[in-house]
């Protein structure tokens, strides 16, 4: 047993972090929220060059995967930088098409996903939301309705989200790509991948919120001293760190479980990671807002881009209640 990321995985995380730090992701998030996807798509291309989407695509289709642990590593960094767009949905769509075994559909989409040329959203109302994320910014939306897989190119009017960078809309119509029990099985697998990488995103988001807040309370002074010297502040941040630190091994263990056979055991692992990371990230957002005080409540501060993501990520691809029920599924 060596339950630690190896040097290569750590280096991958560091290089993504460095690339995203240099990429003005807050600018891309704000543009995305305003309906300008150009900076976001440019970022998407750079992520593809770094191999992020290839991690979800098998080798015959120009990918490197599926590599769930590396996906978890990558999505932790994407969450840390609040990268906009249907990142989770694109890799989950890749997982669905890979698992479905329909060679025509796989050949049509998987190489383009790996190369960053196709941005795909995925909507599985049975396990998640009736809305697709960012359908107006995608090349296609896959919809799973019962045992039918649809490819839709139209969607209803955008429903603004509490996180302006998340643009929601109902998919409309569509053509049938596949039908049968294998669709439901592939969709369940895709939902598991989506839950895993959403948990990773939440964990990264929480880490960024904690780091920013620690830096802030060290330099913000009140009553003549740094507010970070106050015990109430210190203890809140200690608790924030504890929740994130203990969510992380659940995430890595769930990623390892996804490399093995499907089954209730893997499902329980993924659900545990999702509920722990989602709660930890939301608690980090609450702490960040509270300890920044009124300035944290302004959307001029980039912190707001992270704070507003915490709750939607906690609900997406497995609500806490659904995850808790699944943890106890024999």
């Amino acid at each position: 047993m060596r339950f630690l990321l190896d040097d290569e995985q750590r280096e991958f995380a560091r290089s993504l972090d460095a690339m995203l730090t240099a990429s003005d992701t807050p600018g891309a998030v704000r543009a995305w929220a305003a309906g300008d996807t150009t900076p976001g798509r440019a970022l998407w291309s750079r992520l593809a060059e770094a191999g992020v989407f290839a991690l979800a695509v098998p080798e015959p289709y120009d990918g490197l995967g599926p590599l769930p642990v590396e996906l978890a590593v990558a999505f932790t960094e994407l969450g840390r930088h609040a990268v906009p767009g249907p990142l989770v949905e694109t890799v989950a769509a890749a997982a669905l098409l890979d698992r479905l075994g329909d060679q025509d559909a796989a050949a049509a989409w998987l190489p383009r996903i790996a190369a960053g040329k196709a941005v795909v959203s995925l909507c599985v109302p049975a396990v998640g939301s009736p809305y697709a994320l960012d359908p107006d910014a995608t090349d296609a939306v896959l919809v799973v309705a019962g045992d039918t897989l649809l490819l839709t190119e139209e969607s209803g009017p955008v429903q603004p989200s509490a996180d302006p960078a998340r643009r929601l809309a109902r998919p409309l119509g569509g053509t049938v790509l596949a039908r049968g029990p294998e669709v439901a099985a592939a969709a369940a697998h895709a939902a598991d991948v989506a839950a895993l990488v959403t948990a990773a995103q939440a964990l990264g988001l929480g880490r960024a919120l904690l780091d920013r807040t620690v830096a802030y309370v060290k330099q913000r002074t009140q009553f003549g001293v740094a507010i970070g010297s106050f015990q109430a502040v210190k203890h809140r941040l200690a608790d924030t760190l504890i929740a994130l630190e203990f969510a992380q091994p659940l995430l890595h263990s769930a990623a390892l479980a996804l490399t093995g056979p499907d089954g209730p055991s893997a499902g329980r692992e993924i659900a545990a990671a999702k509920v722990a990371a989602g709660d930890a990230a939301y608690a980090a957002a609450r702490a960040a807002l509270q300890l920044h005080g009124a300035v944290g409540y302004t959307d001029e501060l980039d912190l707001s881009l992270w704070i507003r993501k915490a709750r939607p990520l906690r609900e997406a691809w497995g609500t806490p209640a659904a995850c808790r029920a699944r943890v106890l599924t024999p």
Partner: protein
């Protein structure tokens, strides 16, 4: 990255499981916080020791198996899953032994460790004083130089199991002139039946005489029972404080086994429509799993040559809160049966949760209060400034 056990580790687990199946008493022993129970638990330690299961991580010369940390974790998982008795030797094994391994002499190790491993000598800790709890460095009990050793005087308190234990270890002020609370302290071992020692049992929150206060009046301790250099006691004690807070005091097996029992309890008797209760059971299961995995990650770090320092404070807060959550949830599942103590003839089939609940409430206090741990986390892991305590 993997979570796989080797064939040898699996064989070790099977061996431990078979031994425990054959030896764990069918009827639970009386509470170790009573004279009768203490004796029964001491006998159990002897049984463990006879087949080298009492201290698997120690070198073989002291009665162990030289097991790496991962095998110790495996053993603990099997131990708690088997419902084996509590460890009456834990203070010595978890606190004094690591200090002796790091700071003791060969002679001290040879003299102290085997009898600790066999349960022949049970150790109590003598840290706290009435005026020195969290602020341990303010302690005032003294060690005064005398011919061939030291004379200990003062008062120690809240010493777990000291009412029945044989010997104790703790810190004493040997140089009151330093003017610095952390300096001039010496780490000593002493017998509880020596001339000048008075032990007064204190009833614990559950009424059992599990605590004691120690009154010391010029108790002679020979030089050979000083651990480390005189005056260096704080450094000696703190170098292994992480053991108590982190890895070795509360191994994950204890909590994963409790989470299993809680899940069984919930499946057998809880109202399935009570989703609030279901969510709390799930959270306890998730947290126990998180603690196990976090510990595996730490064990992997240690195996890779890294050391665990202030990170042990993360463990301490987490397991102590988890322990309370596990027991509170179990009591809620049990409803009116939850308050039945281990002495009640109609105590639930799953074992008494009441005693465990009461004990879990002490978790955020002992081994350094969780408030102190959070200060350590904030200052040493997050780099926040020291402030007024």
């Amino acid at each position: 990255m993997d979570l796989d056990f080797t064939a040898a580790e699996d064989a070790f687990r099977a061996e431990a499981r078979a031994w425990l199946t054959a030896h764990v008493p069918a009827v639970p022993l009386p509470s170790l916080e009573t004279a009768e129970g203490f004796a029964a638990h001491r006998e159990w330690e002897r049984t463990l020791f006879a087949d080298r299961w009492s201290v698997v991580s120690w070198p073989e010369e002291y009665g162990g198996r030289s097991a790496p940390i991962l095998r110790w974790l495996i053993f603990e998982e099997e131990y708690y899953a088997a419902g084996a008795p509590g460890r009456v030797s834990q203070n010595g094994i978890n606190l004094l032994a690591p200090t002796l391994f790091e700071h003791g002499t060969d002679e001290q190790r040879a003299r102290v460790l085997p009898s600790m491993a066999s349960g022949e000598v049970i150790w109590a800790q003598a840290w706290s004083e009435p005026e020195s709890g969290s602020d341990l460095a303010s302690l005032r009990s003294t060690a005064v130089r005398t011919d061939g050793g030291w004379l200990l005087s003062g008062q120690k308190t809240w010493s777990s199991r000291a009412a029945f234990a044989d010997r104790a270890f703790g810190l004493f002020r040997s140089d009151p002139e330093t003017g610095r609370p952390h300096q001039g302290l010496t780490y000593l071992m002493f017998p509880l039946d020596a001339a000048g020692v008075t032990v007064r049992p204190i009833g614990r929150l559950d009424g059992k005489p599990a605590f004691a206060e120690l009154f010391l009046d010029e108790v002679f301790v020979p030089d050979e029972d000083v651990i480390g250099a005189p005056g260096q006691g704080w450094r000696v004690a703190m170098s292994t404080a992480g053991n108590e807070r982190g890895l070795t005091l509360r191994s994950p097996g204890r909590f994963t086994a409790a989470a299993e029992r809680l899940t069984g309890l919930w499946r057998d008797g809880a109202d399935p429509s009570d989703t609030a209760l279901r969510d709390r059971v799930a959270d306890a299961v998730v947290a126990a799993r998180a603690y196990r995995l976090f510990t595996y990650a730490n064990a992997s770090r240690i195996a890779a040559g890294e050391s665990i320092g202030a990170e042990s404070s993360l463990n301490k807060v987490f397991w102590s809160e988890l322990d309370i959550a596990l027991h509170e949830t179990a009591l809620d599942v049990l409803g009116p049966y939850g308050e039945l103590s281990d002495e009640a003839t109609e105590a639930p089939a799953h074992g008494s949760w009441a005693e465990g609940h009461t004990f879990s409430l002490a978790g955020p206090i002992y081994a350094g209060t969780n408030e102190i741990q959070r200060d350590i986390i904030a200052e040493r892991l997050l780099g926040l400034p020291k402030g007024r305590r």
